[in-house]
């Protein structure tokens, strides 16, 4: 049997490997190549060296969007994970109707980002009209609008992961702690949280990358207004790519490559840090 596996594994691996190469490796290599080019479409690129990267780093709106995204990500990672964990704790207690609540909390995650953005824009602007303002009044409004939107959307998803983690904790461990006289907070911090650390690793990773990659919601809710001050990295790249002539597409491409590498690095560092803790 093992022999057969060794013999035939290329047959099984090949389709997936081919799809991975076509759908991921090739576009990624092309993207990196295009970031060194000036082009209108992918098939008419001319090599221009590192000019695009120099332009990208000179662009102050890009730097601003990176900082805005970073701040946004820090706030949402904390908010989403704390709230999702809290909701998960509540919904693993023996309360009536937990399944209904779980479903309801999960539902926002099923709605597309553009639709959510427009719906929340209507809600926020409807509320703000009482003080004669809109979301674009200042970047603070836009920032918190985006935070509320993303939290509302993602808490349910993270909650499901936390619920799975909490349900995996052996009941006798908690019982033993209770018999030994551990208080509620001791049980939470000494048993429950360390036990769900794999869930924490996954959820932080997801919310971290989601925060940085946010595009649809940003486009639909604020579109970067006022004056590009709520523009996040992905939207900045998009605007660079399509906002000017073809000469500038390479700059957008260069920004995208910088962004991809930075995001991958942040993801890896986060996994190393949190996963290391989980093992202890």
């Amino acid at each position: 049997m093992e022999k057969a596996l060794k013999k035939y594994f290329p047959v099984f691996v090949l389709p997936t490997a081919a799809a991975f190469v076509i759908g991921f490796i090739v576009p990624f290599i092309m993207a990196v190549y295009l970031s060194f080019c000036s082009f209108t479409t992918v098939s008419d690129a001319t090599f221009v060296g590192i000019k695009n990267y120099i332009e990208a780093f000179k662009d102050t709106t890009f730097l601003h969007s990176v900082l805005f995204s970073a701040l946004f990500t820090i706030v949402t990672v904390i908010l989403i994970n704390v709230l999702a964990f809290t909701v998960a704790m509540c919904l693993t207690k023996k309360i009536k109707g937990t399944n209904i609540f779980r479903t309801i909390f999960f539902m926002p995650n099923l709605i597309g980002g553009i639709v959510l953005g427009y719906v929340w824009q209507l809600l926020f602007n409807g509320l703000l009209s009482y003080i004669n303002r809109t979301l674009t009044f200042s970047s603070v409004y836009g920032f918190w609008g985006l935070v509320i939107l993303l939290s509302w959307q993602q808490i349910g998803y993270m909650m499901i992961i936390y619920i799975a983690g909490i349900q995996n904790i052996a009941g006798d461990m908690l019982e033993a702690a209770e018999v030994d006289g551990a208080t509620g907070s001791q049980r939470l911090f000494k048993i429950i949280i360390p036990s769900v650390s794999p869930s924490i690793v996954i959820c932080t990773f997801l919310s971290l990358t989601n925060g940085f990659k946010l595009f649809d919601q940003n486009l639909a809710l604020t579109a970067g207004e006022p004056s590009r001050s709520t523009e996040m990295v992905a939207l900045n790249i998009y605007n660079t790519f399509y906002g000017s002539t073809a000469a500038y597409r390479g700059v957008g491409q260069a920004k995208a490559v910088i962004f991809a590498i930075a995001l991958a690095a942040i993801g890896v560092i986060q996994m190393r840090l949190t996963a290391g803790k989980g093992d202890k």
Partner: protein, 450 residues
């Protein structure tokens, strides 16, 4: 046993591969509208086929119908794919790089040829170029790169019945719409309507000048044409890469009027959409609405309204009783020179049929409500009252404002900057100097960066 294992292995691997690759395939073809674009175009490869990447979603159904009719008559396959609203360049970027690229695509103006000129087939001598009555676009080495197929006009659309009703009011500042001949008279009327809005039963003189992405182009592209037009006219030039901003104050005149004599508080404008303004106008909540001939179609609410145009008066001395509405075109046909010879010929034949056959003329001027600048359309009577109104100004000897300003706008970035500056001005977080800066400094830098 071993053989059956082998068979199972091969079959399951094949199924996996098929599933995976099918997934890739369907993801690939999401160009813009119908996914079968490439397939359709490929079908008639032997004898030539047409693949039209259409710009205007509002006439997609009409184009599909016309294409089907042509295929029925001639057997030449015609595929029409329409890019979703506001994504034409994105769609064109990905479609034109494909093996089955569009044979026919559109550009908005001369500056689009910077990006897309390299794909333009020289149309000189073709039927559409020979019969064109408007200015075609040319570029270095290509005599006729693009041929316009629909003229459009924009200005201030007004509700004729409501304005007449206003004229009947006691102490109305005008006795008929003909008394509005310059910015001062327009402002007097608008201010008075705003002050007496309850008496007239409206919410404001102008519909909300929404600065949301679905509406801001009315001011960042169309209205922005006016100050640039006056500057160029004064200087006797038709294009430039920097502006003095001499007439930005005039732009402010009309913007201020839109903001103050409006259905809503200016601070809320950034959240107002194009649909909001349209609904306000159609519901009779406002008298004036800045938009163009495209706002009217035979089957929308406006078709039942009594409407006409006013020029975009901004307080320039030369405008008094002597200008018409802004007339030009942002719709040019280009034929892809990288297509096969058969496909290019098929496309030219298709276009000839579109502008000369009865079915084509009827669809373009009827269902699509286009004002087509070809001599084959000479006998066509247009249904759209806005064209009639625009023509009346010209017939009365008034100068139509050309689109030279819009055509020389540097980039999308520039429009976005202007929109941002207007938003900040409308909500009081920025002052007018930002708008001035966009017209002068940003205009030059964006041109430099191109």
């Amino acid at each position: 046993m071993r053989r059956s294992n082998k068979v199972i292995a091969v079959v399951s691997a094949a199924v996996m591969a098929a599933g995976l690759l099918a997934g890739c395939g369907s993801g690939d073809s999401a160009g813009g509208g119908s996914g079968d674009a490439a397939g359709g175009a490929a079908a008639g490869a032997g004898s030539g086929s047409v693949y039209y990447l259409n710009y205007k979603p509002e006439v997609d159904a009409q184009w599909q119908e016309l294409a089907a009719r042509y295929t029925e008559e001639t057997g030449v396959p015609v595929t029409v794919v329409t890019a979703a609203s506001g994504t034409y360049e994105q769609t064109l970027t990905s479609e034109i790089a494909k093996t089955e690229a569009p044979t026919l695509f559109q550009v908005e103006n001369q500056s689009w040829l910077d990006n897309w000129g390299q794909y333009c087939y020289d149309l000189s001598g073709s039927f559409i170029a020979e019969h064109s009555t408007a200015n075609t676009l040319s570029m270095e080495g290509v005599e006729v790169a693009a041929v316009p197929f629909a003229m459009e006009s924009y200005g201030i659309i007004y509700n004729v019945d409501l304005l007449n009703e206003y004229c009947q009011l006691e102490n109305a500042v005008i006795s008929s719409a003909a008394d509005i001949v310059d910015f001062d008279s327009l402002k007097a009327v608008a201010d008075d309507i705003q002050a007496r809005k309850d008496e007239l039963g409206v919410e404001g003189a102008f519909t909300s000048a929404g600065l949301d992405g679905s509406s801001n182009w009315r001011f960042t592209t169309h209205l922005a044409n006016v100050p640039i037009y006056w500057e160029y006219t004064k200087k006797g030039i038709t294009t430039a890469t920097s502006l003095d901003g001499t007439y930005v104050a005039n732009y402010k005149n009309l913007i201020d009027l839109y903001f103050t004599d409006s259905t809503c508080d200016p601070a809320l404008l950034s959240g107002k959409t194009g649909d909001d303004a349209l609904a306000e106008f159609c519901d009779g909540m406002a008298v004036f609405y800045q938009n163009g001939t495209w706002a009217w179609t035979a089957d929308n609410e406006m078709a039942e309204m009594n409407i006409a145009f006013l020029p975009l008066y901004t307080g320039v001395p030369e405008e008094k009783d002597s200008i018409g509405v802004c007339t030009g075109t942002g719709n040019f046909w280009c034929v892809n020179k990288n297509s096969t010879e058969e496909d290019i010929q098929a496309t030219l034949d298709f276009l000839e049929w579109v502008i000369s056959s009865e079915a084509g003329i009827e669809t373009l001027s009827g269902a699509m409500a286009f004002n087509c600048p070809f001599d084959t359309f000479a006998d066509v009577v247009l249904e759209n009252p806005l064209f009639t109104s625009a023509n009346e100004y010209e017939a009365a000897g008034k100068t139509a404002i050309s689109w030279i300003g819009t055509e020389s706008l540097p980039t999308e970035n520039w429009k976005a900057n202007l929109s941002s500056a207007l938003i900040e001005y409308s909500q009081g977080t920025g002052d007018w100097s930002n708008v001035e800066k966009v017209f002068t400094e940003d205009f030059a830098t964006e041109w430099e960066n191109r």
